[in-house]
Every structure is written in C-alpha cells, then in structure tokens.
C-alpha cells in the first residue's frame, strides 16, 4: 500500500503499466478499441459501458497469454507491491484496466460499480476481476468481493483470489485468512502460490490444520506435505512425532515436506529428528528442497 500517493495517482500509474503491457501485444485495431472504451468509461456518462466492454474484451482483443518479460514484471511490482501477473492473459489485463478506468476519485462509487459488474459476471470475467483486486482503489470497500471469491465452489475463482495475489495477506482478518488456507488444501489446491503465507501463520490456523490432518489420517487419505508449512513453528511434540513417522515412511514429497517442517520447528526433538536423516537435512539446508519445490 502506498499511503504517500493519493489513490488517483496509483490508479493512473497502474493503468499506464497495464496499457503498456497490452500495447506491445495487441493489434492497432484492438488497442484502438480498448482506448475508445477507456475514454467512454472514464467520462462516467454511460454507467452500463463498463459491463459491456468487460464482456466484449476477449472477442475484441483475444485471449493470448501475456507472458511478461522480467522487466515488465518488475515494472508491475513497482507500480503495485507484490503484483504477480504470471499466468495472466491479455483479456484479463484488459478487463482489469477497464475496471480501473471506472474510478473517478470516489471509492464508494468504484466499489459499488465493481459489485454490480461481478453480480452478472460470467466465469471468465469473475476470474479476471478478482485477479485485479490488488490493483483496485478502495481496498477496504472491496473486501466483501474478495471474501465472496474465496467462498466460491469454482476452483479457478477461488484461486484468482488465493494464488499469486497480495490482496488476501494484506486485508483478510485471521479468521478469513485461516478459512482460505484450510480450504486451499481441502479442495486439493496448492499453498505455494499463496503470497505472505509464512508471515500470517497463527496458532488457530495450526490447530485447524492439525485437526484436518487427523481427520484425513483417520479416513486413510493422504495429507498434503504443504500442510505442515503452517504448522511447523507452532508444532507440539505430537506433531513432531507425526512428522518423524512421515520422514521415515512417506513418499518423497511427503518426506520433503516433513523435513522442511522439522527444520522450521523450534523444538529440540525436531532438530534431532531431522539430524537423523542427514540426506534430507542437507537438502533443506542447501536449498535443494523448499516449500516451492514440493510437487
């Protein structure tokens, strides 16, 4: 969050970053269409135009992957801390840009417009707009839209909020955050793409995950090795014992997760358990195994 900037400046900077990305990739016709729509939306005279333009975006400008260069990524991160547009497509960037164009200095009006647009959005529109959350003004007012997104039964909509998105770790309460993290595992999704995961570990989350692991074990089901990432610093001797058993008997991925967790657990028993598996201990300490490398 850049409290030193007025939001109008942030919005115009962010718009210029998105437009620069798109200008390099779109045909002159497509870019002209986009600029024309932005100009209409910016006047605020035609409130329905935002929804129309967002709907038409893929057919006007296509759905190719953005595939940003490293420099472009960095410019994005400079315009908005933590912005990660990996996996974005041109229509998604355009839809976010169109939504930003509807901001006319009034936070409440912007949030209401976003809510209206999302209320009738088809699935692709929802994914795009939720990926845009970190770029939008009025971050506090749009929180209900983010929460609604992680409540979705549609995994790609859930992941549009949860993955590669700095918004949740900045704005979710502990209860909201914990629900999101547990649900990520519950639906078989990945924790690694969640931003700010380690910084928001908390005792309540650890307890929920420990209970969830017990439930899975009782049902004879596998436990994601990623689960232990949010448990490790808060583990008790019982969890250390469970991790020791995984390190001994698990699959390669499970053993890697257990080793990482034991390394991050402050209990002396965890240290000695890891030391008794020198191969894994070495792989963790020299960075060959990290939470991002676990499949």
């Amino acid at each position: 969050m850049s409290a030193h900037h007025p939001p109008e400046r942030d919005v115009s900077l962010r718009m210029s970053v998105l437009r620069t990305w798109l200008a390099k990739r779109l045909s002159p016709d497509a870019l002209a269409w986009l600029d024309g729509q932005i100009a209409i939306i910016e006047t605020g005279d035609r409130p329905l135009q935002l929804g129309v333009a967002i709907s038409l975006a893929p057919r006007k400008i296509g759905k190719a992957d953005l595939n940003l260069s490293r420099e472009e990524h960095e410019r994005g991160g400079a315009a908005r801390y933590g912005l990660d547009a990996t996996d974005w497509s041109t229509d998604q960037a355009a839809r976010i840009l169109l939504a930003l164009a509807s901001f006319r200095g009034d936070d409440v009006a912007f949030a209401a417009g976003l809510e209206r647009t999302l209320a009738t959005a088809e699935i692709g529109e929802q994914i795009a707009l939720l990926r845009g959350l970190p770029l939008f003004p009025a971050p506090g007012l749009i929180l209900p839209r983010a929460i609604e997104g992680v409540r979705s039964a549609m995994q790609p909509i859930f992941e549009a909020v949860a993955h590669r998105n700095p918004y949740p770790s900045e704005h979710f309460s502990d209860a909201q955050w914990n629900q999101m993290v547990v649900k990520t595992l519950f639906i078989g999704s990945r924790l690694a793409p969640i931003q700010g995961l380690d910084g928001r570990r908390n005792a309540e989350l650890a307890k929920m995950l420990i209970d969830y692991a017990a439930e899975r074990r009782a049902a004879g089901r596998t436990i994601s090795p990623e689960l232990w990432r949010c448990v490790a610093p808060l583990a008790s001797e019982a969890e250390v014992a469970a991790l020791v058993a995984i390190l001994r008997d698990g699959t390669d991925a499970e053993r890697a997760g257990a080793a990482l967790a034991l390394a991050e657990c402050p209990l002396p028993s965890a240290r000695s358990a890891l030391a008794s598996s020198p191969d894994f201990a070495a792989a963790v300490s020299d960075g060959r195994i990290t939470w991002n490398t676990i499949p």
Binding site: V52, S55, D65, A119, A121, I123, A153, G188
Partner: protein, 300 residues
C-alpha cells in the same frame, strides 16, 4: 466427437457429465429455459443466467466438456409481464458475454399476445446483436405454432440460415427445410422424437441442415441421446459423413456463426483456458478413463 446443442445441464448430475464425456460429447449448448416452476422476479432470472454462464460452465469444464449458452426469455415466463420487462432489460448485457452462441430458446407455448410480444422483441435483439436464434416450438398445436414462428422470424428480417427450429418432428420438417431454416430434433426416450424415427428422417431428407440434440433437462430424458442416435445411424447404414453432420458439424456451423464457438475451443484450447476452465476431454487425449479427482473434496 459429438456436440449436444440443446442440453439443460443445470438439471443434470456429474454422472451425466462423466458419461457424456466418455461417449465423446466434446461440447454442449445450454439454452436458457423454464426451470419447472415459475420465477417470480427478475433477480432469480438474473442469477439463473449468471449460473449457466458461471458455475455450470465450470462444472462442464471439469469433465472435459466445453459449455456454451443461449440466453433468452422462455415463452412460458413471457406471460408474466413484470418479469418479462425486467428480463428484457438485463438480456442485452448477458447476450454479449463470452460463450453465448444464440438468443434462445424462445418462441411460443400457448401462443398468447404476451408471448408474441416478447418473442418479437427478442428477434429484434438477435438481429441487432447479429446472434443466431434457437426456437422452441410448442408441444401443443405444434404444426401451426412452428409455422407461425417462422412467419414472424421472416417478418422480423432474420436470415433463416442463422435460425434453428428445435423440437421438429415428421409433421414440421418439410416446411422448416423448405423455408431455409435449420431443423433440430430432440431425441427423447418417450416423447418428441426417437432415434429410430430420426434415422428414417435423415434417410428421407438428407443430412443437410438437420441437427440432433438431447434436450435433456429435469424430466425423463437422456443426456446420451446424441451419441446413441449416432450409433444407431451407423448401424443402419447411414454414411459416416451424414452422421457427423447431424451429430456434430451442423450444430457447429450454425452456432459458430456467433463467433463464440469453434472447433479449436476443444481441439486446441488457449493456455489460459487449460489452466482455469477446461480440464481437457479424455476421449480427445486418447481414451483413458475420465479423471474425477476427489469429487467429494469439491462438495464445499
């Protein structure tokens, strides 16, 4: 590969999706319809349209089936004027969304004045937006109802090559073909049209502009009607190309005129769709068993 160009998947189970994908159905078209009881306000209609364009598309994609929609005000609910007015206001916004291939299913039920009014308004909308149209022909007084539908469509200056007349039978096929429309047949286990009769119709009239669909919904209906009819046609000696036309290519040709449906959608989907909306059809991937990963974990 098959296309089922009339399937109310919102009323069907995951077993159906699995079976359809396994049988080679690569795409379905879900027309907006009457859900078995009347909606009482435009809010429920709006949420219904969002649902078929949202959650239903997601469900289909999980099973490797591409999902498209027709949006429209059905004839039964056109008789609730307050609702109908509200729906007409929201319809243009939905009609321009991605994956909307037609205005439909629209037409007559009891052939009331209100049905006529909203039918005509929606034909105008289709013309303005340059979208194909799917026409529901009435179950009662079908022959005259179908005839009247075609009169009104031509009166509103729509090109019949962009209009599908659905639920056609032996009584209505001749006029539909003569007037240049596409003729779709809903193959039902008990009523409307059976696979055996369909075979005879293709033999008699040729495959040109004929389309087979299941019109599966919340009633007794069969989501495998299209592949089953194709199998029967092959068994009874129809040419492979004719089978392909009526169970795949004709539907693609007419609804593809929307610019929102193309073979590449399932044969070479854009990477963004593969990452998010479309798991890929196991039949296209070489026929291994459909992957239904932890379905119970998704019942959240």
């Amino acid at each position: 590969m098959f296309i089922d160009p009339h399937a109310h998947m919102i009323s069907r189970t995951t077993d159906d999706y699995e079976a359809m994908a396994k049988a080679g159905v690569v795409a379905v078209i879900e027309p907006a319809f009457w859900i078995g009881q009347a909606r009482t306000n435009v809010g429920s209609y709006k949420d219904y349209l969002s649902h078929i364009l949202g959650f239903e598309r997601f469900r289909a994609g999980q099973f490797g089936v591409r999902h498209y929609c027709c949006v429209g005000l059905n004839s039964k609910e056109a008789n609730n004027e307050a609702l109908a007015e509200g729906v007409m206001e929201i319809l243009p916004g939905f009609a321009t969304k991605e994956g909307v291939v037609a205005i439909g299913e629209i037409g007559y039920d009891e052939q009331t004045a209100l049905e006529d009014k909203y039918f005509r308004l929606q034909l105008d909308l289709a013309r303005e937006l340059d979208l194909p149209v799917m026409i529901h022909t009435p179950h009662r007084d079908k022959k005259r109802g179908a005839s009247r539908s075609m009169d009104v469509i031509l009166e509103h200056k729509l090109d019949p090559s962009r209009v599908v007349i659905d639920h056609v039978n032996e009584e209505t096929i001749q006029e539909v073909k003569d007037r240049g429309f596409w003729a779709a047949f809903s193959i039902y286990p008990h009523s409307k049209m059976t696979a055996e009769r369909m075979v005879a119709l293709v033999k008699g009239f040729g495959a040109e502009r004929l389309i087979v669909d299941s019109a599966c919904d919340w009633g007794v209906s069969d989501p495998l009607s299209v592949p089953k009819t194709a199998a029967l046609m092959a068994e009874q000696g129809l040419a492979e190309e004719d089978v392909r036309l009526v169970t795949y290519a004709n539907a693609l040709a007419v609804y593809g005129k929307s610019g929102q449906m193309a073979e590449a959608d399932w044969l070479a989907p854009p990477p963004i769709d593969q990452r998010t909306l479309y798991q890929g059809n196991t039949v296209l991937r070489g026929g291994q068993a459909p992957r239904v990963a932890d379905i119970d974990a998704k019942l959240d």
